[in-house]
Every structure is written in structure tokens, then in C-alpha cells.
């Protein structure tokens, strides 16, 4: 063995078996086995320092809590360690491609984070006098202008807090419009079989019944079936375009025309707007309402599942039913209309307590200004190019669900190429984790068996796309070669192996439970001091 002059080995060592080697402590190298906050912290430990209160709470009598809350505290160094260790168990777009179809996981520019934290935005109270919030109202107004221009729509409701909340807002506008026109008997919403689950759930949430529209063999809305199901009872159709198969609805203008001819509104699910931004205006297609996921197309961070933001652009027919509040210009400046009365009497109500996701508005606006009209068009082109490149390369081993013609921003494969291998889409996805990639969207849309929906977005360099395709092709060859254990037992190399979701649902354990301790004398004294 080579050593330096104090006897420290300098070579890699003789090496032993590494496969299957387990640590003595349960961690994996730098990846620590991290207990729960409640197991680490203490009731008497804190990471903040406060002045003591000058007055007690005797004025509140027995309204004051006597029992322990049951919280655990950590000092600041422990807090940093705990959450940084946990963070290292997450995949993230900053680590590698995150090809979740329909989710548009693109790069989140850090400029946007910096801008959202300017005190003028972050430390601004939602009910601050409007004369002290003119810059915020101006930003909302400018963002609204961009959204209206990019979609070719005359109005936008800014307050919905996520895509599904935007769908709710759009359908409430449609419902209000029908009621105002004496068409309240229209109670059915038509939804394609390939739709996001939120579409039928939203329709049901506002009291509509849902009828499915069939899909053609080439993955589009079946016009004949749509026409057969339209009628005096239909309030709206909800169509995603580009659709969840990653395809542009070629007949979209006709879909809008016949829906309108039957008195129905056309709600477009704008989840996939990234594919067409700067190249197609939904307003030109006959759309009446469409939500825009600012966290998808306009890159506000997904943050582990939220917060999102879902402004809804509206046609002239629906605009006057939009919910409060909104921004208007009066002679002297910008004003916030907060009450659905007088000038706003037809507004259907209110979606949330305040002005919507202002923090997301700042980020989305910074993103739009950075790209500009030219950059946004390039966004759509590169997103579509990247998806088609993946589709072309992976088709060497995998089976695209719709092989003929180009896809839009995402490439959809079925599982027919896995037939006979004993390996499922889920197994394949879990094996991707061992290769360092987040799986694609699986088993969605429901219309394709064992679906694998891959959306790379425009922020992936070619080198990363090639690395991804090389890995998937190698896995596909391994699957076909009969290396089933690589898949059925995967993942082997992730922070955890495959998790038992059935157990979680059968015996739900949703909170950490202490044994409820009576507040001991000592604790009571410390807490009271």
C-alpha cells in the first residue's frame, strides 16, 4: 500500500465488497438518517431570543392556555442541520432533469427570488392604504397586460391561487354568465377522457355533472362524439390544449365553434401553455376562459408542491363576472376594487382573502421581462424541440403512444414495449431513480396503458437530454434482456427503498403523537417565567 511519511495511506486502498455494504448507524455516507423534529427537539429549547413581556395575560382569565401545546424546539444550529439534512433527500430541478409530464419543471431564475424579497413587495401588507401600494398595483397591472397580450384575451382574473383554483374561478364565471342569461338549467360539463383529474373534480365542486367525450385513435377530441353530447343542458366544455397526450388539438377552432353554437362556453385548461406561448393566442382559438399556471409556464418555483398561482384570462362575455378584487386606473392613480358592488355588481364573489399570489406575480413578471416577446417565443420552440428530440431518440427502444407526427412540449409513451418482460411502468420509473433521474409522469393520461409522459422543458441543455436518453435506452435494453430484478426491486440506491403505500393508507399515521404529558410543576414554572 502507498503511504505518505506519517503513515497515511494515499491510494484508494485494497477495497472490499461495496455492494450491499451497510453502515453501522443507518445513514449512507453523507446522507444522514434524520429523526423527526419531535425526537430531536425539546419543549424547553428554542432558537429565538425575545424581550420578556411587560404585561401578563391576567386580563384574559381562563381563556389562557394551561396545557402544553406539544411543540418541540431547536436551537439555530440544530435547525440548520435538521432541515439541510432533510433537503438532501430530495430531487430538485437544480440537480437534474425533472421530466414530469404536464408539470413543466423548468429552471427557476434566482433573480426572481431576489425581486420578490424586495421590502417594497415582501413587507407590504395586503390592506395597506392603496396610496402606499401603488407600485404593487402597477406590477399587477403590467403582469395582467402581458397575460392578456400573450393569450389574446381581453380580461384576466388575477386572484386564483393555483391552477385548480383558476379552473374553479373560470367555471364560476361561466356559471354566473349562464345564470345571468336565464341559462341556469345548463348543468353539464363535457370533459375529454384524457383530462387532468382537476377538470371533472372542479366541475363537480361547482355543482355540475360531468360527461366524458371520447378520444380519437390519434389522441384528439372526437368531434362527432362532442357534437352528439352537446345540447341545451351543456354549460361548458373543458379541453386542455395542447392536450395531456402532448398533442395540439388540430380541430380546436371547430371545437369552439360548435360548442358556442350550442350555447356552451369553452374552458381551456392552460396547464400546457408553455408549448405555444408567443406562437398561438388562445383568444384566436375561441377560448372563453383559461387559467395560466404561473408556476409552470412562467417559472415560479414549485417549492415541493406549492404555492402555485392560477390567473384566469377571460373573454368579453365572461369578463364582467370576474371575482373581486381587481385593479383599475382612475384619474389619479391605481385603485383596488375590493367589493363586488356598484360598478362590480355582476362579479360572482371572491376567491381568496386578498389580492392573490403577489409573491408569484413578482417572480412571473421578472421572468417575462427577462425573456421578452422574442424569448418567450423561443421558450415554446425549444420546449417543443426538446420533447421531439426525446421522442425521436427513445423511440429506438420504447413505443410512443402516438408515433405519427410531432408532439408538442411532451412525449408520451405506452408500455407495450415492456410486454413479456414482467416489468411495469412503475418498476421502470423506480429504476430511473437509481440512475439519478426523477421519473416521468406515470399512468397519466388514463387513456394510454402504462403511460409514461416526459416533459423536458426548454431549460435543458442538449448534453443533459442525451445523458437522460442514454440512461433510459440502456435501461430499456436491460429490461428487454431479462434483467428484471434491476427494476422490480428498484430503487436500490435512493435514500429509501420502495415505500409501502398500502400500509400508509390502511393504518393512517398522520401526526407524531407524544404521550400527552400533564404540565409538570417545573415546566409550568419555566413557561410562566
Amino acid at each position: 500500500m502507498t503511504m505518505n511519511n506519517v503513515g497515511r495511506p494515499t491510494g484508494p486502498g485494497a477495497g472490499g465488497a461495496t455492494a450491499g455494504h451497510a453502515s453501522l448507524t443507518g445513514g449512507r455516507g453523507l446522507l444522514q438518517d434524520e429523526p423527526l423534529l419531535f425526537e430531536l427537539g425539546g419543549w424547553d429549547k428554542t432558537g429565538v431570543d425575545f424581550d420578556s413581556a411587560e404585561h401578563d395575560a391576567s386580563d384574559l382569565g381562563d381563556l389562557v392556555r394551561t396545557a402544553a401545546i406539544g411543540l418541540a424546539g431547536l436551537s439555530e444550529p440544530e435547525t440548520m442541520r435538521h432541515y439541510v439534512r432533510l433537503s438532501q433527500k430530495n430531487h430538485a430541478i437544480d440537480l437534474a432533469l425533472y421530466p414530469l409530464g404536464s408539470c413543466t419543471m423548468k429552471h427557476n431564475p434566482r433573480l426572481n427570488e431576489k425581486m420578490a424579497r424586495l421590502a417594497g413587495f415582501a413587507d407590504l401588507h395586503p390592506l395597506a392604504p392603496v396610496s402606499t401600494a401603488q407600485g404593487a398595483l402597477e406590477l399587477i397591472d403590467r403582469l395582467a397586460h402581458w397575460l392578456k397580450t400573450l393569450t389574446g384575451m381581453p380580461a384576466v382574473a388575477m386572484t386564483p391561487k393555483a391552477g385548480a383554483h383558476g379552473e374553479l374561478c373560470g367555471l364560476l364565471c361561466i356559471k354566473a354568465a349562464h345564470e345571468a342569461a336565464g341559462q341556469g338549467h345548463r348543468r353539464t360539463v363535457l370533459v375529454p377522457t384524457s383530462a387532468h383529474g382537476t377538470n371533472p373534480a372542479t366541475a363537480a365542486f361547482v355543482g355540475y355533472s360531468v360527461t366524458e367525450i371520447a378520444q380519437t385513435a390519434d389522441g384528439r377530441v372526437d368531434l362527432a362524439d362532442l357534437e352528439a353530447k352537446l345540447g341545451d343542458h351543456v354549460a361548458a366544455i373543458m379541453v386542455t390544449n395542447p392536450n395531456t397526450c402532448g398533442l395540439f388539438e388540430r380541430d380546436v377552432i371547430e371545437i369552439a365553434r360548435i360548442s358556442h353554437a350550442h350555447g356552451a362556453y369553452f374552458y381551456c385548461d392552460g396547464a400546457n401553455f408553455n408549448a405555444i406561448v408567443g406562437r398561438v393566442r388562445p383568444g384566436d382559438l375561441g377560448v372563453d376562459a383559461m387559467h395560466i399556471n404561473l408556476h409552470k409556464t412562467f417559472s415560479t418555483p414549485h417549492g415541493g408542491g406549492g404555492p402555485g398561482a392560477g390567473p384566469v384570462v377571460l373573454s368579453e362575455a365572461l369578463a364582467k363576472f370576474a371575482p373581486a378584487p381587481w385593479v383599475v386606473h382612475d384619474g389619479t392613480g391605481l385603485k383596488l376594487v375590493e367589493e363586488a358592488a356598484g360598478e362590480a355588481a355582476q362579479a360572482f364573489g371572491r376567491m381568496c382573502a386578498f389580492q392573490g399570489q403577489m409573491g408569484m406575480f413578482v417572480r412571473a413578471y421578472a421572468y417575462m421581462r427577462s425573456h421578452g416577446a422574442d424569448g418567450l417565443r423561443q421558450v415554446a420552440e425549444d420546449a417543443v424541440l426538446n420533447a421531439n428530440y426525446i421522442k425521436a431518440r427513445l423511440s429506438a427502444e420504447m413505443t410512443p403512444a402516438f408515433p405519427d407526427g410531432p408532439c408538442m412540449h411532451e412525449a408520451l409513451f405506452d408500455d407495450s414495449w415492456l410486454e413479456g418482460t414482467g416489468i411495469t411502468t412503475l418498476d421502470f420509473a423506480k429504476a430511473m431513480i437509481d440512475e439519478g433521474f426523477h421519473p416521468m409522469t406515470m399512468y397519466f393520461p388514463l387513456v394510454v396503458h402504462g403511460a409514461m409522459l416526459i416533459e423536458p422543458t426548454e431549460t435543458e441543455p442538449k448534453r443533459e437530454l442525451d445523458r437522460f436518453c442514454d440512461a433510459l435506452l440502456a435501461l430499456a435494453r436491460a429490461a428487454k434482456a431479462g434483467d428484471a430484478a434491476r427494476f422490480t426491486g428498484a430503487p436500490y440506491l435512493a435514500p429509501l427503498r420502495r415505500l409501502d403505500e398500502t400500509l400508509a393508507a390502511r393504518k393512517p399515521k398522520l401526526t407524531w403523537r407524544p404521550d400527552p404529558p400533564a404540565l409538570s410543576e417545573e415546566r409550568a414554572q419555566v413557561l410562566a417565567s
Binding site: N90, G197, T198, C352, Q355, L496, E501
Partner: protein, 446 residues
């Protein structure tokens, strides 16, 4: 363009692998009538410096809460958030990850959600909490819809102390679902008036404590009346720090507790993003809206966390789901959890005591200045009588004081134009309070 990695050469190579002559060929399915060939009438791309200049100049036209004496509350509160909170939530692995659909590589997010749910359950005293809602107001609306599912009744009573925007959101959703909302007349200290309206057709009673006027109410009797009629009690709280001082909703008989969690970990952000807290009794869990994280084990028997009970949710149940919700307020929930970990039991109690103490200072100073305080029992927020409160707020701006929220801004038709809502937190100094009292006194003297 700095966010787009493909070079012209990459694009050409990729088109050739695809077998497409040009990029237009990939858009062949778009009808020609719908293709926009020219650039939109919007500015062209801009460098960081230029974008930053524009946004800094917009931000400069707003007056941050921290710029001087500031007393706005009414559903959003200015608190100090430790620097480490914002540092952690900006870590790539939290900021740029998605919903934890692949639990093996999302244990960070999932364990945080489990800790968040445990903290919310502890604060409210209830058995289970979900992984968060959009904000307090939508959580309130969802709670009412949940009560409808649980009781199969179609009427809800809202007290006159519920935040008017929460009531409006709830009415909006309820109207769509065909549920009747009886909203009692706005009243400063009359939560118990809901009791007279309870009958066997009522699905739930919604009360707020501390209410929008700052009044803390013992809701035990309301709970008893609701339960006797087979209805649920929903308790709303807009100031989550109050859980550190006051008896929990569960101790008072709540079946569902909803709250705005912004106060812990999250900036004011002009109204969003915030984080809605939602907790309930265990037996109601399968009617709960939103995401839930649960504990389980992996193939090697190691403890881990997954999203669970998803058979309630839209992506499985579609039109039969308990809600259309497809997201939570993940990053805001993370900020909440980190801040509350730093506070702990001791810190939250101290923070709550400090807030209450500052509000006592404020109420005392205003009384001494001859201002009528309308809130008999308060946590950190009071209502005071000031003639034409809107005009008073505008006038005090000239003194550099943001003197709270006129109630009429929230509820213009209640006839309470002389009610001003004022909040004090640990960020409020005694100099701020002195300035406020002096300015209101000067105004009254004119």
C-alpha cells in the same frame, strides 16, 4: 438568452435527429389561422440589470410595513422571521422540487410535511391536520363544504365576527355548491349569537376567535349547542401566534379548526402566498380536503413518509373527489415549520405573550389619549372607535403612521364606518404606540 441553453448548432443537430426540416414542422398541427408569425407587441428580452432596475423602481413606490409606525392586521400580520428560515427555504432541494410523487427521492419534503401536520395538530389540539391549504379563507370555505359532506346538511351559520373576506370566499363556494350560508350581522362581541340560529338543519357553525375585531371568545357553549343539534363547530383563527397564549380550538369543542398560518414564517407579500392550516378530529379524516402525508416503511423496513389517503383526491376520484385541490402551499408550509421549530414550545409562548403585552400597551395608550377601545378581551388586535376611520387612516399617513385598517374597507355596508382595527406585534415599538396615540388625540382635538 441566459435561461435557454440550446445553441443554434444544437437546434440544427436535434432537428436532424428528429428528421424535421425546421422548427415550423414541429408546429404542423397548429391550424394556420391560429399561428402568430410576428412577435407580440411586448418589449424584447432584457438583462438582469435592466429587469432589476424596473422592479426596484416599482418596489420603491410601495411603503414597506417596516418603514415606520404600522398597525395593520385584519388577517395578515407583520412578525419578525428569523434569517435562517428564508435561507433554508431557498435551498434548491426545497425551492425547485415538485410535489413528492416519488417518495423515495422526496423524503425531505415529505418528512417536513409530516412535521408540519404534527405541529398544526398540536397548535389546534386536534387529532389530524392536512399538508396545508392556499390560505385561511379558502381553508374556511373547504371546512364548510366538508361539514356538508359529513352531516349531509346544507346550511351553515357564520358569526358576525368572521373576517368579511373569509365570509365572502365561503359564500362564493357555498353558493356554487347549492349550500345556504346564514351570515350574522357584523358585531364586535357577539359570537354567541349564533346559538339562537342553530337547528337540526344546520351542518356547521363558523366562529372566529380572536375575531376580526380582535375579540377572544370562549366558544365552549357554542360547541355544546352545535353538537346538541348534530352540527359541527368550525373555529377560524387568522393570527396563528395566538395559539401560543390562548386555549386551543379543540379544548373549546371545535370539530374542525382552520387558520391563516402566514404569521409564522411568512412575509406579508401583499396578500400571498400564504398558508392555510386545516385540522380536524380523527373520525372525520376521510372527508378532509387536500393532501395528507403519512408514515409508513420502505422495502427494508425503514421508516419513511408518503402522500396518503389519496383516494379522496381529484387525480384518483376525479368528479367524486372531496375537493378539486391539486396542490398545497408547500414552501410556505416549510417556512412555517422551520420558524415554529426555532420557536418551539417556549419560544411560541414567549412570542405570544409579547404580542399580547404590546397590544395591552397600545390599548392603554389609546385609552389615555381618549380613544374608545371597543374590544373587551383581545390577543394582539383591537377595534377602536374613530369617527370616519377611513379618513383618519389617510390623515395619519401624513404623519408617517399607517394606522390600521378601517373596518369599512372589509365590509362597506355594515354601518361601522367609525371602527378602526389595530394590531400590535413584537415588531411594534413603544415609540410607535406613542406616536399613534398622539396622532389620534390630535385628530380628535381638531
Amino acid at each position: 438568452m441566459r435561461y435557454l441553453p440550446l445553441t443554434p448548432d444544437d437546434r440544427a443537430q436535434m432537428l436532424s435527429v428528429i428528421g424535421a426540416p425546421d422548427i415550423e414542422a414541429l408546429f404542423a398541427d397548429v391550424p394556420s389561422a391560429a399561428r402568430v408569425t410576428e412577435l407580440f407587441n411586448l418589449p424584447l428580452h432584457a438583462g438582469e440589470l435592466e429587469v432589476e432596475r424596473e422592479l426596484v423602481s416599482l418596489a420603491a413606490r410601495n411603503r414597506p410595513a417596516g418603514a415606520g409606525p404600522f398597525f395593520c392586521g385584519a388577517g395578515a400580520y407583520r412578525h419578525h422571521v428569523p434569517a435562517s428560515v428564508d435561507h433554508i427555504i431557498q435551498r434548491s432541494e426545497f425551492l425547485t422540487s415538485y410535489t413528492p410523487y416519488q417518495p423515495e427521492i422526496a423524503q425531505g419534503t415529505l418528512q417536513v410535511l409530516f412535521e408540519f401536520q404534527s405541529q398544526v395538530a398540536a397548535l389546534t389540539g386536534l387529532d389530524v391536520a392536512n399538508a396545508s391549504m392556499y390560505d385561511g379563507s379558502t381553508a374556511c370555505a373547504e371546512a364548510v363544504m366538508m361539514a356538508k359532506r359529513v352531516t349531509r346538511r346544507e346550511k351553515a351559520i357564520l358569526s358576525g365576527g368572521v373576517h368579511p373576506h373569509y365570509a365572502a370566499v365561503t359564500q362564493t363556494i357555498a353558493h356554487a355548491e347549492g349550500m345556504e350560508i346564514v351570515r350574522q350581522k357584523a358585531a364586535i362581541d357577539a359570537e354567541a349569537d349564533v346559538i339562537a340560529a342553530i337547528d337540526s338543519t344546520v351542518a356547521c357553525v363558523v366562529v372566529q376567535t380572536p375575531n376580526v375585531f380582535g375579540v377572544v371568545t370562549d366558544v365552549t357553549r357554542i360547541a355544546e349547542a352545535a353538537h346538541a343539534a348534530g352540527a359541527l363547530l368550525i373555529v377560524v383563527t387568522t393570527e396563528a401566534v395566538s395559539f401560543g397564549l390562548l386555549k386551543s380550538p379543540s379544548e373549546r369543542g371545535a370539530d374542525i379548526a382552520v387558520a391563516e398560518g402566514q404569521s409564522i414564517g411568512n412575509a406579508l407579500n401583499y396578500g400571498g402566498p400564504y398558508v392555510g392550516l386545516f385540522a380536524c378530529r380523527e373520525k372525520l379524516v376521510r372527508q378532509m380536503p387536500g393532501r395528507l402525508c403519512g408514515e409508513t416503511v420502505d422495502a427494508d423496513g425503514r421508516r419513511g413518509y408518503v402522500l396518503t389517503l389519496s383516494t379522496r383526491e381529484q387525480h384518483i376520484r376525479r368528479e367524486k373527489a372531496t375537493s378539486n385541490i391539486c396542490t398545497n402551499s408547500g414552501l410556505c408550509a416549510l417556512a412555517f415549520t422551520i420558524h415554529l421549530s426555532l420557536l418551539g414550545e417556549v419560544g411560541l409562548r414567549q412570542l405570544a405573550a409579547l404580542n399580547h403585552s404590546r397590544a395591552r400597551d397600545m390599548a392603554g395608550a389609546l385609552k389615555s389619549a381618549g380613544v374608545e377601545v371597543l374590544t373587551p378581551r383581545f390577543f394582539n388586535e383591537i377595534a377602536v372607535r374613530v369617527p370616519d376611520a377611513s379618513a383618519a387612516v389617510e390623515a395619519l399617513l401624513a404623519d408617517g403612521i399607517v394606522a390600521g385598517v378601517p373596518y369599512s374597507r372589509l365590509d362597506p355596508h355594515a354601518g361601522l364606518d367609525d371602527v378602526l382595527l389595530l394590531a400590535a406585534t413584537e415588531t411594534t415599538t413603544s415609540e410607535d404606540i406613542t406616536a399613534l396615540a398622539a396622532a389620534l388625540k390630535r385628530r380628535a382635538g381638531r
